[in-house]
Structures are given as structure tokens and as C-alpha cells.
């Protein structure tokens, strides 16, 4: 059930507003200022520092998180718009401390160098594989087209996602 935020009518304002959502499977409730982006909320309030700020304007995808199943730029989303939402960040990908198949394949394929784009890249890939377990190369390219990498180059990334998809299809746990 979606909780009603407190300022549906006359009483809105710049005051802090109660935000309740589920982040990486855990219920979170906090008072937030309206101007806080989801990115700032995740990093500053929840200390989820895997969520990166690159451009801050929706071009680079470093801040990508999965919100209600969709990859979104957390820098262009108000925290309050996440009321009632399920959020997944890179911190939520691992299984009990170990890396997921997708993360392992990024390591195996040298799909990262500096690593700044990696969390966003992983989240775009995760959102793709959740809705399409067997994507073609074009579909993978399209899914990560909003994630810019300035060191590795994209081919290792495409290969890593392809390999992870195969492993997941063969029944391996994420």
C-alpha cells in the first residue's frame, strides 16, 4: 500500500516531509527536505556511497538505481517521488556479502577500470536482465546507452552482461 505523504493539500511547504520506501529490501523512513534528490538521500542519509554523482543532469547514468523495476537517474528524481517505492542500489546486488554473477562477470571481463560508472552500469544491466533474461547485443547496447564509460570502452561491458545473462539463464543465482 502506498502511504499518503503529509502534504496533499493546504499544508504543503518547505518543511521536511516523511518519506517511507524500501531500499535494498529494507524499510526506510526518514524526514527529508523537498529539494533533496533521491541521489542525495541515498548517499547522505543512507550512506549508500555506491550511488555516484557524475554529471548531475541525466546524461551520464552514474547515479542509476532501480526504482520499482525501472532504471532511473537518481539525480533527476526527488527523494519524495520515491514515496512507497522499492529502490535497489548496487549495494543490494550481492548475495550475503558475495558478488552476484553479474558483478563477477564484470570483474572477469575487465569491464571496469576506474570503476566510477560501474554501479550505474550494473543497475542498468540488472534492470534489463530482470525484464529480459536473454537480450541480444542491440538490446544490451540500448539498455546501457544512458551510461557513459570514459575508460574501459564498452565491449568488455557488453561481453560481461552477455555472460552474466547466460549464467543466470542456466539457473545460477543472481
Amino acid at each position: 500500500m502506498r502511504e499518503q505523504p503529509s502534504n496533499t493539500g493546504e499544508t504543503g511547504g518547505t518543511d521536511r516531509v516523511r518519506l517511507s520506501c524500501v531500499v535494498n529490501g529494507e524499510k526506510v523512513s526518514a524526514l527529508v527536505e523537498p529539494h533533496l534528490t533521491l541521489l542525495s538521500f541515498l548517499r547522505q542519509e543512507l550512506k549508500l556511497l555506491g550511488v555516484k554523482e557524475g554529471c548531475g543532469e541525466g546524461e551520464c547514468g552514474a547515479c542509476t538505481v532501480i526504482m520499482n523495476g525501472n532504471a532511473v537517474n537518481s539525480c533527476l528524481t526527488l527523494a519524495l517521488e520515491a514515496e512507497g517505492a522499492r529502490i535497489l542500489t548496487v549495494e543490494g546486488l550481492s548475495n550475503g556479502g558475495g558478488l552476484s554473477a553479474l558483478q563477477e562477470e564484470f570483474v572477469k571481463h575487465d569491464a571496469l577500470q576506474c570503476g566510477f560508472c560501474t554501479p550505474g552500469m550494473l543497475m542498468s544491466a540488472r534492470a534489463l536482465l530482470d525484464r529480459n533474461p536473454d537480450p541480444g547485443t542491440e538490446e544490451i547496447k540500448e539498455a546501457v546507452a544512458g551510461n557513459l564509460c570514459r575508460c574501459t570502452g564498452y565491449y568488455p561491458i557488453l561481453e560481461a552482461i552477455t555472460a552474466a545473462a547466460k549464467r543466470e539463464r542456466e539457473g545460477e543465482q543472481r
Binding site: N7, T8, G58, T77, L78, L80, A127, G146
Partner: protein, 289 residues
Amino acid sequence: MYLPDFEYYQPNSLAEACRLMAKFGPRARILAGGTDLLHKMKHGQLEPEVIVSLNGLERLREITYQKGVGVVIGARATHNDIAGSALLQEKYRSVCEAAHHMANNQIRNVGTLGGNIVNAVPSADLPPILIALGASVKLAGSQGRRVLPLEEFFTGVHSSVIEPDEILTEVIIPDQPSTGSTYIRFGLRRSGALAVVGAAVAVTMEGETCREARIALGAAAPVPMRARQAEAVLKNQVITPDLLEEAGVCAARECSPRSSIRGSEEYRRDLVRVLTRRALQKAIKEGHV
């Protein structure tokens, strides 16, 4: 990058949203997907004191067919909602394709049809195909509702007929005789690039004869424009390659693009010629694609 302070409201009815907009007037802005609004606010181009979020109005996201009316797309439908709509895929795949090829996946997951229209950016991808299909927009305000052709909505770059207390609620694509439609855009990259020029057409074919053609161009004038002289070239004519080229030449002549970092006026005119011709060919041959 931080946002300036503002008051935030998330009304749970359209009436309440209109009332808030009427109360705050130009001091307030509607928040739908936020991909334009928050971007502009971060850059200090807009400083609304009040933000009225439409996030609580789920019904504005529906895409339905209403008998005797046509396909009704809620203004809060995201680009990916439109791209993936089974109804639109079946009736006007051209609209799905236009939505699918804009921006990038993260933006398409939140950016909305309403925002793409109301921001009144000349290079917006959805207005041309919707205008070619004769779509109307419904505006809800504190004084009531009105419906007008999308073509009459825009008045200039970043400006339209919408009043400060009005909210765009839906876009209606009427039932029509057209046999094909398409939108072709040219961008400097395949993803995440604004259209340098976009050309949308809807054609009504009878055998080899074109009974009617509607051509709408994006980024070819301050507002999305109909290329009426090019349309007249085609009306009730048997289609030949030369005739399609003539329509393209005509469209290039009647548009008024500006030079910008993405392309000079001359370059854009030539793009209009080529894209108009290609779009006509495609819609005539392949239907609503």
C-alpha cells in the same frame, strides 16, 4: 548539484492539483517526470517557489482506446510506457517508435508525454508524429476543461497557450482514415541526442494514389510545423519517386530552421528535404511504422 528550495505538494486529485496551480499561478510548476524541470532548476534557469507533483495521479498514466473518441494517452505516460503499449503497437506503432528512440532508457522511464509537449522545445520528438496523426490535447484548469488540436498548442520556443492554472491531462489520437504514418529523426548520436531535424508524416493511400498527406516537422521552425505546401503537392496524386522528392523540396523551402550548435540552417533544410521524402516512402510502403 543541488536544487534550490521550494514548497512541495503532491495532490491526490486532479481538481486539487488545478486548485493549487490556480492559487500559486506562475510561482508554481508542475512536476511530472522531472527530467526537464529539475534539470532547468539545477542550472538556475527556473526557480519555482512551489512544485506540484503529479506523482499521486496514477490514472493520468493510462493508455486506452475509447470508442468514438480514439486512443487516449494520459499525459503522465512515460516514453517507455508509450513505446511498450500493446494498444499503440497495434494501432500506431509510429508513435511507439518515436518514443523509443528518444533520450536514453533512464530518461524514457520517467520522462512523460505531457512534459515533452508542455516544455515546447522545437526538437521534441512526440509532437510531430502526434500532429501528423491529428491529435488533440486536453487541458484541465480551475475554470473547466478544454480540448484543442495539438497543432494549435505551441506559440513559440518554450511557450504555448497553456494558462498557469492549467494542466495537460491527455492526448487524443482520433480514429482516422490514414493508412500509414512514421517519424524519422536525425540526431548526432543514436542515443541521448536531441533531434537535429525530425519529420513525421501520415498518409491516406488508395492504391497508388495519395488522397491526403499530413507532414509535421520538428526542429525546423520555432514550433512543430505542418508543411502544408508539401502536403498540397501530394494531394490526390499518383505517387512517384519524383513527386516525393518534390514534396521534400517543398517542405525544405517552407520551413524556417535556425542555425545552432547541432546544425546550420542550410544543413537542416536539406535534412528536411531528405527526411520528408524518406518518411513518405516509408509510411506509403509500410503502414504505421
